[in-house]
């Protein structure tokens, strides 16, 4: 059972990386990063549940991770709203002012 759950979390993490590499919308990028963070959190819960069920350490860390991921997305959305007001788009391929 443990191995299949670890595989699920690995799949989520890889999907997140794939999304980061291919998405053009900045919101999509944020969602992909969320996916990676949640995969890591799932990892912790799974290890806690199957390997060390007597203590709750991993699940406690997971609660903190969820809160922090929300804070991260909050700042991200604030920056994106600011950019959208100026550019009318959140397409990351148009974010190319900073070069050399």
């Amino acid at each position: 059972m443990l191995i299949s759950w670890v595989l699920v979390s690995l799949l989520l993490f890889s999907l997140g990386i794939y999304g980061v590499l291919t998405r053009r919308s900045a919101v999509g990028l944020l969602i992909s990063v969320e996916l990676m963070l949640n995969a890591a959190a799932l990892n912790l819960v799974v290890f806690n549940r199957f390997l060390f069920a007597s203590r709750m350490d991993g699940q406690i860390l997971t609660i903190f991770v969820i809160a922090l991921a929300a804070a991260e997305v909050l700042i991200g959305m604030a920056i994106l709203v600011m950019l959208f007001r100026r550019k009318k788009s959140v397409d990351v391929t148009q974010l190319s002012q900073l070069k050399h």
């Binding site: 990063v33 963070l37 890591a40 959190a41 991770v65 804070a71 600011m82 974010l95 002012q97 900073l98």
Partner: protein, 486 residues
């Protein structure tokens, strides 16, 4: 549970000052009046630094062993406080009208800087993975907001890029921490270290965890394959934040590396010394070669700081006290020297509105002292004796020689020579090129002069006072005895 909150005094003072500035802002008439809040912030940081001096000699713990304090932690905290204080001193120069990167809402700006500073200080003292991860995010998330502070296209773009890359970095780190947890079943750093040492490298997922954690640390420390965000974030961010990113954020990366790679997995480092040497070589070479081609001052400083991270990494090649000492000492020297350079660059960029290297042309005529201070800082970064930068680099290079990596010393020395070439490009613009007809006398406030003076004098004398290095050496040998039993 024994709750001794006085161990947290510096952090609590920093946080309280942050909130105080936020509240005092309500009673200010003009939103762009920054005198009161900057003085308040500096007083708060000085109080925190003083309170740190009164804290313990022996290592102590509180909050059920989740928050610890020893001498090395205090030294790191004082370095962080010093660099944040200097940034706050030199940042009001960025209020001038000329540049599009003008900073507004100074009270909130200082508050957010103080919050991220408190996160960095909690990170130093964290003794379990929950505290470590939470304080790391407290140190990182406000920096995203600071990067996008000026609400221009460039600043916003830098903010988005930094945010995405920073979040990916912390996801990698967390995934790695998950595997560490799967091996040990405990979140306390001490317990993890004990279990890992007992298991003696039998577990392949330990290597996976090590690699993932190295990636997470690499994002913060701008090591070679993970440095992509740095030039963009540095160029787009408001100049004081560029200074803060290059010093304090890099310091956070170093502290994270000390906490996780040295403290928890230190016994594992021995077989991977060659890998560290390769990583250091790639990082410093890439930073130096690309910096040669840069024309934007802030982007130039970004690549220069990437190459400095490469030098810094050489300290991880040994678990002897000298390695740790060399890294902490170099961090102090680098903070002083880099902030001296940025002190001048902030004044220049925000009063002329130009960020090109050629815009420095002939400024030594109208502003001899500013040019002199920038020249000293650049020579310090290049490592010219007798400046502190040379002493710091010498200790780092000697680590590589001690473990028998003479080719790395040669590569690093060669890199220093390359870096001297591009630092001299700036000096040439300032001193040798004919004066720009539009060049003007730059205005500089007393507060900035003080900050710039401290940083410049510090970057000259820090290498000449033997007490500093010896103090750090004594502390770190003690620290290594406690943590690694060496």
């Amino acid at each position: 549970m024994n709750l001794s909150l006085e161990l947290m005094a510096p952090e609590i003072i920093v946080l309280a000052t942050g909130f105080l500035i936020l509240i005092s802002d309500l009673f200010q008439k003009s939103k762009n009046e920054n005198k009161a809040s900057s003085i308040l912030a500096i007083v708060g940081i000085m109080l925190a630094a003083c309170s740190g001096l009164f804290l313990t000699d022996a290592p102590k713990e509180t909050l059920g062993g989740r928050f610890g304090l020893d001498q090395l932690d205090l030294i790191l905290k004082e370095i962080l406080l010093l660099s944040a204080g200097l940034v706050i001193m030199i940042s009001p120069a960025a209020m001038k009208e000329k540049s599009e990167q003008k900073i507004t809402h100074f009270s909130e700006f200082f508050t957010v800087i103080l919050f991220t500073l408190s996160g960095m200080m909690f990170l130093v003292s964290s003794r379990d993975l929950v505290t470590l991860y939470v304080s790391l995010e407290l140190a990182t998330i406000p920096l995203f907001a600071l990067t996008a502070w000026t609400k221009t296209d460039k600043s916003g773009e830098a903010g988005v890029k930094y945010l995405i890359m920073g979040a990916i970095g912390s996801a990698f780190l967390l995934y790695g921490l998950g595997f560490i947890y799967s091996i040990t079943g405990d979140l306390g750093l001490k317990a993890i270290q004990t279990t890992l040492t007992a298991s003696q490298l039998t577990n392949p997922s330990l290597y996976l965890a090590g690699a993932l954690i190295l990636a997470g640390v690499g994002f913060k420390l701008t090591l070679f394959p993970f440095h992509m965000w740095a030039p963009d974030a540095y160029q787009g961010a408001p100049t004081p934040i560029t200074a803060f990113l290059s010093v304090a954020s890099k310091g956070t990366g170093l502290i994270l590396a000390i906490q996780l790679l040295l403290k928890v997995m230190g016994f594992l480092l021995q077989p991977f010394v060659f890998g560290i040497a390769i990583l250091a070589t790639l990082t410093m070479t890439l930073g130096n070669l690309v910096a040669v081609r840069q024309n934007n001052l802030k982007r130039f400083m970004a690549y220069s700081s990437i190459s400095q991270a490469g030098y810094l990494l050489m300290g991880f090649m040994t678990t002897k006290p000298e390695g740790l000492t060399a890294m902490v000492f170099y961090m102090l020297v680098y903070a002083l020297t880099n902030l001296a350079a940025f002190g001048v660059l902030i004044v220049h960029i925000h009063q002329t509105g130009q960020e090109d290297i050629t815009s420095l042309r002939g400024i030594s005529k109208a502003n001899p002292l500013l040019a002199l201070s920038l020249m000293i800082a650049l020579f310090g970064l290049a490592g010219i004796p007798p400046l502190a930068g040379f002493v710091g680099k010498f200790f780092l290079f000697s680590i590589a020689a001690q473990v028998g990596y003479y080719w790395l010393v040669a590569v690093a020395a060669l890199n220093s020579t390359v870096s001297l070439y591009y630092y001299l490009r700036l000096v040439r613009q300032m001193y040798i090129e004919p004066e720009n007809p539009q060049s003007q006398k730059l205005q500089i406030s007393p507060m900035s002069i003080l900050g710039l003076g401290i940083a410049t004098v510090g970057s000259v004398v820090a290498g000449l006072i033997p007490y500093i290095y010896d103090g750090i050496l004594a502390t770190s040998s003690q620290w290594l005895q406690v943590w690694l039993k060496i």
